[in-house]
Amino acid sequence: MRARVFVSLKKSVLDPQGKTIYHSLRNLGYGNIQDVRQGKFFEIHLDSSLSNEEARKEVEKMAKSVLTNPVIEEFSYEMDVA
């Protein structure tokens, strides 16, 4: 089983990297973009012995305690059988 975890800065937190990328893209002529937020992506392979629910619990725990700093970041994830 594989988890794909996406971490990004909270909406309330200014993302200077995202802003810079946004302006660069605009300057290159990509006029149809409204905003860019930069984040992190983790691919986590879990033991196949875990049930779907156990795996989800484990991923959420890891994301909350290690992969994100809850003061500034939030996360989402998806599971798939790899």
């Binding site: 800065l9 937190v13 200014l14 200077p16 700093n69 003061v71 500034i72």
Partner: protein, 231 residues
């Protein structure tokens, strides 16, 4: 007063702190390895600057799981003095010993130069020897010093006078131009509610000898020693 200087894989300012405490401040000092769960008989702990664990994941994020940080938490809960400098400040934030978090510098560049900071409160063991509003000339060197905290927590911190240093002009004015990294409210250093844990981005150990261009950083260590004598 006996100082302990922590070492994590990737720390690189521990020798500067060790030298300054031993040779300039003339106080006993020892290194403490990150795997140690015991701080010995130290009266104060320095969490030094550098790039602990290569800054992987987030600055300070991995270091906080080191056995020594559990010992530091117990030490801090018993009113032990803990000073986190630069990456040490980031580790204290990730450990939850101080409120807030660090974002990348607003200019997205590593900033390495002397800055001026204003002492906002002398009511800490780290600033007791300073004058209220005194301007200190101390260098910074970091990529993630853009302090952030939610508005409610900032309000609480301001009310408790937990903001200890702010970036300022040489005359002591708090301006946008004097802020090197976009830090919220020009914050350069903060303490916890109990006032025995301080984190600061500037490096006082790099400004403790005339040879280095400034001795202003020494005030912080002298304050710590003085607090020990008086308590």
């Amino acid at each position: 007063m006996k100082f302990g200087v922590l070492i994590f894989p990737g720390s690189n300012c521990e020798h500067d702190a060790y030298h300054m405490i031993g040779k300039v401040l003339h106080q006993p000092v020892q290194f403490i390895w990150h795997q140690s769960g015991d701080l010995g008989d130290c009266d104060a702990i320095i969490v030094p600057g550098g790039f602990s664990y290569g800054d992987y994941l987030r600055t300070g994020a991995i270091a906080r799981f080191s056995p020594v940080m559990e010992a530091v938490k117990r030490f801090a809960s018993k009113e032990g003095l803990v000073l986190g400098i630069c990456n040490g400040f980031q580790i204290l934030l990730e450990s939850g010993l101080l409120p807030g978090a660090m974002l990348k510098n607003q200019g997205l560049k590593y900033v390495c130069r002397h800055v001026h900071i204003r002492v906002e409160s002398t009511h800490t063991p780290f600033t007791a020897a300073c004058r209220q509003g005194e301007v200190l000339n101390i260098p910074i060197g970091h990529m993630e010093g853009n302090f952030f905290v939610d508005p409610d927590t900032l309000y609480k911190m301001e009310r408790n006078q937990q903001v200890i240093f702010r970036y300022c002009t040489p005359q002591g004015e708090i301006t946008k131009e004097a802020n090197p990294n976009g830090s919220l409210a020009n914050i350069a250093g903060i303490c916890n509610e109990q006032r025995n844990v301080l984190g600061m981005m500037p490096h006082p150990e790099r400004a403790s000898e005339a040879l280095l261009g400034s001795e202003d950083g020494l005030m912080i260590f002298k304050s710590m020693v003085g607090s020990m004598v008086h308590s």
